[in-house]
């Protein structure tokens, strides 16, 4: 009790509170801009803490990192472009709600669950303080493997109306997760000698390509975010969202638990937690529409889990100096700066500092949610802005954010490639959620399997926690498989047969090539890639065969089932898809060219001003003003706030300047 009072008194110092508020402000901005996330924010702030006392330093840092997953919801819901990798699952139902004119409701629900989830995380962290060391020591390597298997079993919930495609999408995600130098044997897997691929496919670019580009293309096709859906955003709608969240308080608490526990396990990143929570919620539809079609539970679950994880990932960080997440790696640097050694001292000598971290997380979550709620109404108005105006500007932010990742043209090619994949998946009923789950869990699955196997042999199956979780995963999958089998002959909407077949055939070729090459890797580097490529190839052969058979039937005169709505997260753009996607890819290619030729400022300006004028989306003067605004913002974030090593514009280099 004394410690709690002491911690509150220390944190109550006006300067430290100011640092907390500053951190929250920075965190909200970092969360909103796609392409940058918590790591960027912390790297920005850690050098500022050299001259701060420990309370002020952690108020600033944790204040920032606690609210990133609150504001990253804004672009996810409005545009379908996740603000950080922790908001990808929110896109599925949140953006679907925005399209129906319910953006304000989605925000109300999201912020309320973010806040409560964050508070649950802080509370659990507080409760864990006395027992966190034994707790972390109790879980062994096999348990971590079993947790990732269990996480992967959520694919069963995300597989959609054509479950074979869902399973194949998850395998494809797994397979792509294995690109890069493997952590065990140091073998190059599909890096093609390019140093950019050594560290694997960058997760930020993969998610922006998979969700961001296809959603922007469908925005072009619809004309504006909510299309023809009526209703201006109102406080009443927002309150309705908040009430939705409060009604689902049990879901929030469960996902808060889940987020905290998974956050405490090193290797389970926020992106994985997000999808596992989403899969958990998807087991029960509640009173809303189907999952993927704007069910508010699909917003509440990931939003509460991703804010709760901050408290959880502090547990191993404080107790053992083992970072519970990627951002915590940087937070550890701040411990050094403050002369603190994670370990028993943090729970003894420095206990009041540890407790002040709990309060920081709690305050930051309340404050962050409050600010966002306040901003909801003006932001939700964006839903009515014409796509012709919105898309060029958002695309610029997104691509500059991508370029910032490694400052190389390679980023653009990768974004375009994954964007194409995402567009095809969106139109042809391949659940991108299942792909995402495979992609984020792949590395952990492989790493923990080999660790467990090297240490315990097959004896790890005798660990009760591990065995229990693996059995649970098998039961979840088994039950879903039974229901798939029973409903296999139901009439359902299906994508056009020819493109469906062609895409499956294209992926089959890819999977077979991957399988052949994976078999040449040494055993420990090749096992997981070969198994996932093999399963993927097998699934694809069936899917392609089904597509081909359907195409032949339709050519012979059979009619596709009429009057059946697409199910789940499958929301094809329809006949407008092809021109809209082509237009967006062309825009992206043009912007990439301008960014490389003229640099990130002049290139962005030229693109926005030129595109808006050429397409008559805005009169010349306004186009210049919009372009100027975009450029100023990019300059503020990427030049003033942090010195990014932007390469010299190609034109200048060609001119020899």
């Amino acid at each position: 009790m004394d410690i709690i009072v002491a911690a509150l008194a220390e944190l109550g110092d006006p300067f430290r509170l100011l640092m907390l508020v500053t951190g929250v402000g920075v965190g909200l901005v970092v969360g909103v801009v796609p392409g940058i996330g918590g790591i960027f924010g912390l790297a920005l702030l850690v050098p500022l803490t050299y001259h701060l006392d420990p309370y002020a330093a952690f108020a600033l840092l944790l204040g920032m990192s606690s609210v990133i997953n609150t504001s990253d919801t804004i672009p996810a819901v409005l545009l379908g472009v996740p603000g950080t990798v922790g908001a990808v699952a929110t896109v599925v139902d949140g953006h679907a709600m925005a399209k129906q004119g319910q953006a304000a409701r989605a925000f109300g629900a999201a912020y309320t669950s973010s806040m409560i989830g964050g508070l649950v995380g802080a509370l659990l962290l507080a409760l864990a303080i006395p027992v966190m060391r034994p707790l972390v020591l109790y879980l062994k390597t096999p348990d971590s493997f079993a947790i990732s298997v269990f996480g992967l079993s959520a694919v069963a919930m995300l597989a959609g109306s054509q479950p074979l495609k869902g399973l194949a999408a998850a395998m494809l995600g797994l397979l792509l997760a294995f690109v890069g130098i493997d952590a065990n044997a140091g073998v190059h897997r599909w890096t093609f000698g390019d140093v950019h691929l050594w560290g694997g496919l960058p997760i930020v670019i993969v998610f922006l390509g998979l969700f961001g580009l296809p959603e922007l293309a469908s925005l072009i096709a619809r004309g504006s975010i909510q299309g023809s859906a009526p209703a201006a955003p109102s406080y009443a709608q927002m309150l309705r969202g908040a009430r939705d969240a409060l009604r689902e308080w049990r879901l929030i608490v469960r996902c808060g638990w889940l987020g905290t526990m998974l956050g405490a396990i090193p290797g389970v990143g926020v992106a994985a937690i997000d999808w596992i929570a989403y899969g958990h919620a998807a087991r029960h539809q509640g009173t809303g529409p189907r999952f993927g079609r704007g069910n508010v539970r699909g917003v509440i679950a990931p939003e509460s889990a991703n804010n709760a994880k901050e408290g959880g990932s502090l547990i191993p960080t404080i107790a053992f100096g083992v970072p519970g997440s990627a951002t915590m790696t940087i937070l550890l640097g701040a411990f050094t700066v403050q002369g603190l050694v994670p370990g028993p001292d943090m729970l003894g000598k420095h206990a009041s500092l540890t407790v002040s971290m709990v309060f920081t997380i709690a305050f930051a979550n309340v404050l962050g949610a409050g600010v966002c709620l306040f901003l909801t109404r003006p932001l939700a108005r964006l839903a009515g802005v014409p796509a012709a105006l919105l898309v060029p500007m958002v695309l610029t932010f997104m691509m500059v954010g991508c370029y910032q990742d490694s400052m190389s043209v390679f980023d653009f090619f990768l974004l375009g490639g994954v964007g194409f994949l995402g567009m095809a998946m969106k139109e042809l009923n391949w659940p991108r959620s299942a792909f995402s789950l495979g992609f984020v869990l792949g590395p952990m699955l492989e790493q923990t399997f080999f660790l467990a196997y090297q240490i315990h042999g097959w004896g790890w199956l005798a660990h009760p926690v591990a065995l229990g979780l693996v059995l649970l995963a098998a039961i979840v999958l088994g039950r879903r498989a039974r229901s798939w089998y029973r409903t296999r002959n139901d009439a359902r909407a299906l994508p056009a047969a020819l493109p469906d077949f062609l895409f499956a055939a294209f992926l089959s070729a890819l999977a077979l090539a991957a399988l052949v090459t994976a078999l040449r890797f040494p055993f420990e580097a090749g096992l997981f890639p070969a198994v996932s490529a093999g399963l993927l190839a097998a699934l694809l052969v069936v899917i392609a065969a089904q597509g081909l058979a359907r195409w032949r039937r339709e050519r012979a005169g059979a009619r596709p089932a009429a009057d059946v709505e697409p199910e789940g997260e499958w929301s094809p753009t329809g006949p407008a898809a092809l021109p809209a996607n082509a237009r967006l890819l062309a825009m992206a290619a043009l912007l990439a060219l301008l960014l490389v030729l003229l640099g990130h400022l002049a290139g962005g300006f030229a693109f926005v001003a030129g595109w808006l004028t050429a397409t008559r989306a805005a009169p010349f003067g306004k186009a210049m003003a919009y372009a100027g605004g975009v450029t100023l913002f990019v300059y503020a974030v990427f030049d003033l706030v942090i010195a990014s090593p932007w390469p010299a514009p190609l034109l200048l280099r060609l001119a020899g300047l």
Partner: protein, 328 residues
Amino acid sequence: MRGILFLLAGILCAMGGPASAFDARTVAIKVGYGAGGSYDGAARLVSRHIGRFLPGNPEIIVQNIPGGGSMKLMQLLLGAEPTDGSVIGAVGASIAYVPTLDPATASFDPLELGWIGSLGQGENMCVVNRAANLGTAAAFTGEDFLIGASGKSSLTYVLAALARNALGAKFRIVTGFDGVADIDLAMQRGEIAGHCVASSGDLRTTDLGERVDVLLRFGSATIAGYEDVPRLRDLIGDAALRNAAGVVEASAEYDFPYVLPAGTPEETVEVFRRAFDAMVASPEFIADAARISDIVLRPTSGDELEAIIEKNTGMDAGVLETARTLVR
């Protein structure tokens, strides 16, 4: 008119006059690792001081170019970065030895770079849980137990493999841990017995020292407080084997090195070497290092680094081949 002439003359001088060895207004320290790690922290420490010791007191900025354990930055330093001193690189400790010990990964001549100096010295020792009862040399080489490591190209693996192969020990190396903290956690869980990258700092400042027996140390330098721990090279009888082991140990002899891009003029390298030497000797730098980083300062000058690398990578082919087999 006269003013214009002066102006023109000035411009001509600026363009055609002999360039001084160093006149950049801004120097970027490019770090081959992501923000927040120990290399990044060290670079930010250096960025706070080195400017004072360079001509013209340039502004110093830190930029991260992570990828391939600083190999991506290395590729840039070998051909794509300016050679006027406006860019220096903070690369991995053992990167100079990659072409020698792991030729499949990269081939370049490390001596093409301008070695400015390094901040730390490698202090690496094998430690095992006291509870495992492996505290004798006989148990260490004769028993079957587990040593933890990250990937096979990391120092955690290279040193453990070196000890095992050079001494004919029976322990097995578990690969795939995320880093030393992760390995240490598995030790505390009792899943593995130890690792081979403990420094005297770790042993003193954390509870590690109370939990483990220190069995073996690498390198030639003495480690204060651990003089009695047997040195690997003293345990190897065969001279050729000892030489080969020495090459591997040398790759961990210094840490946090700073380099100038390939092709940087000799005079510019010299300017940076002198600035670096003056910086590491200045009391402000030493005090700041103690305050904001956990690096044990044991600087090596650029000339020495170059000599060490030259000697070890220039050994005869047979020794280098043996060295390669020792780290497998």
